[in-house]
């Protein structure tokens, strides 16, 4: 048995400093859900395929099931809980609600963050840019049509602000 000394992981999640001592093998998604009680980030496939666990780490989306928590030490993390501000939904959330860009909602936290990442790079994305931008997020309900509509609406709403 190797020496499994616990590691102190300090991060900022949605603007607030958070920390916990965890086993090194703790995945970032488990760190968020089990240790910080932020259960908005979902575990879907747990194999780096589906993207339900997508969060933003230092400005970039990653699959939180494929990162050990100590690797994110010192990072600035945004989870789905950080999108709404003062009871006001983020324009991306508004658009998904308005366009019915979800059915069961399991993939939605990941898709919202992937949409944010996409719109940061392409504020007015083409269909092909949307396709490539959300290729790492699997939705088994919608058939993606309403997700596309949501992303287009989010883009035009965010451009107004």
């Amino acid at each position: 048995m190797p020496d499994v000394k616990k590691i102190l992981v300090r991060v900022r999640v949605n603007g607030a400093p958070r920390e916990a001592e965890v086993e090194p093998r703790t995945l970032l998604v488990e760190f968020l859900r089990e240790h910080l009680n932020l259960t908005g980030t979902h575990i879907g496939c747990d194999t780096s395929y589906c993207g339900a666990c997508t969060v933003i780490v230092n400005g970039r989306t990653v699959k939180a099931c494929t990162l050990f928590a100590p690797m994110a030490d010192g990072a600035e993390i945004t989870t789905v809980e950080g999108l709404a501000k003062d009871g006001q939904l983020h324009p991306v959330q508004e658009a998904f609600a308005e366009c019915h860009g979800l059915q069961c909602g399991y993939c939605t936290p990941g898709l919202l963050l992937s949409t944010l990442q996409l719109l940061k790079k392409y504020p007015r994305p083409t269909d092909s840019q949307i396709r490539k931008g959300i290729a790492g997020n699997t939705c088994r309900c919608t058939g993606y049509q309403n997700i596309f509509k949501s992303i287009r609406m989010a883009a035009s709403e965010m451009e107004k602000h």
């Binding site: 090194p24 395929y49 494929t66 990162l67 490539k132």
Partner: protein
């Protein structure tokens, strides 16, 4: 899914990473982006007793150009290369970087980790072999530079000693009138390609091919230089007959295995088609045209 327990060590410098590798012995492994290693550890196909994290070492994620060479730090992410001017200088680098897996994996996965992992289906080993590339490794006795063709020995096997770490990749910038393309076909974004092909052509004039490098990916235990296919083009006119001969030779050079991605026969056909298309795009790029290319998958 939990990986088997391991001890975690954060290296602040390359020297420290090498020292930790020495101290912790052969059961220790270096972790960079972790996009190959972590899934393997979660499936318990890899059970290192210790991980040495090199993500916090500064200066290991720079992309620099000097003296006709591109130097890419080991922890440069695929997304960094996708968005870098290096991809404009060497289109093959952009084709490869922009198509690996999906956005999230490209944001985290590193070029150094991809090469050190030496997965037979990895993209960088194929794309960089079409260029003159070498891998810089640091160990207890200092640094050594290994040509890429000597670096990857077999599936998941490199010449890296257990106490060595990849620090950078060096790529010679192709001459004028040279163009390349990396094409891959995959069933969906997050998976490895079924087959891939990288072609770099240097043209004599509009029509004559002076030099050609043709590399096949995912159809053998390592990336395969299809030298007979290269000969079919070298010093010859880029006309259909010769391109067809090159694609035929590439098919013959492939050593695919049947698996869930497709049968050996299917992969052999696919890789020939990819070579043919890559030659066309490489030639147009060598003539100065801007042509989009990269990974193709259902729904794209």
């Amino acid at each position: 899914m939990y990986a088997a327990p391991f001890s975690y060590h954060r290296a602040a410098s390359l020297q420290e990473a090498v020292k930790l590798l020495q101290e912790l012995g052969e059961e220790a492994r270096v972790i960079a982006g972790g996009q190959s290693l972590i899934p393997l550890m979660k499936m318990r196909m890899a059970r290192p007793a210790a991980l040495i994290d090199i993500n916090f070492i500064s200066g290991l994620s720079d992309i620099q150009t000097s003296k006709g060479e591109l130097r890419i730090g080991a922890t440069v992410r695929h997304a960094d290369l996708e968005n870098s001017s290096a991809g404009t200088t060497i289109p093959i680098v952009h084709d490869c970087a922009a198509g690996i897996a999906d956005v999230q994996v490209r944001n985290q996965g590193t070029i150094g980790g991809s090469l050190a992992e030496a997965d037979p289906s990895g993209d960088w080993g194929t794309a960089l072999l079409a260029l003159e590339s070498s891998v810089i490794c640091a160990g207890p006795d200092g640094q050594r530079t290994v040509p890429l063709e000597d670096f990857i020995k077999d599936a998941y096997t490199t010449v890296l000693a257990h106490n060595e770490v990849v620090t950078a990749i060096q790529v010679k910038i192709p001459p004028k009138h040279s163009g390349g393309a990396h094409l891959a076909f995959k069933r969906s974004a997050p998976v490895y390609p079924t087959a891939s092909a990288s072609v770099q052509l240097t043209m004599e004039d509009h029509h004559m091919c002076k030099d050609a490098r043709i590399v096949l990916g995912c159809v053998g235990l390592t990336a395969i230089r299809a030298k007979e296919a290269e000969k079919a083009l070298q010093g010859k006119a880029l006309e259909e007959k010769n391109v067809r001969a090159a694609a035929d030779a590439a098919r013959a050079a492939a050593e695919p295995q049947s698996d869930m991605r497709g049968s050996a026969d299917y992969k052999r056909l696919l890789v020939g088609t990819l070579v043919k298309r890559a030659i066309g795009i490489a030639a147009r790029r060598a003539r100065g045209e801007s042509v989009p290319a990269g990974h193709e998958y259902a729904g794209r």
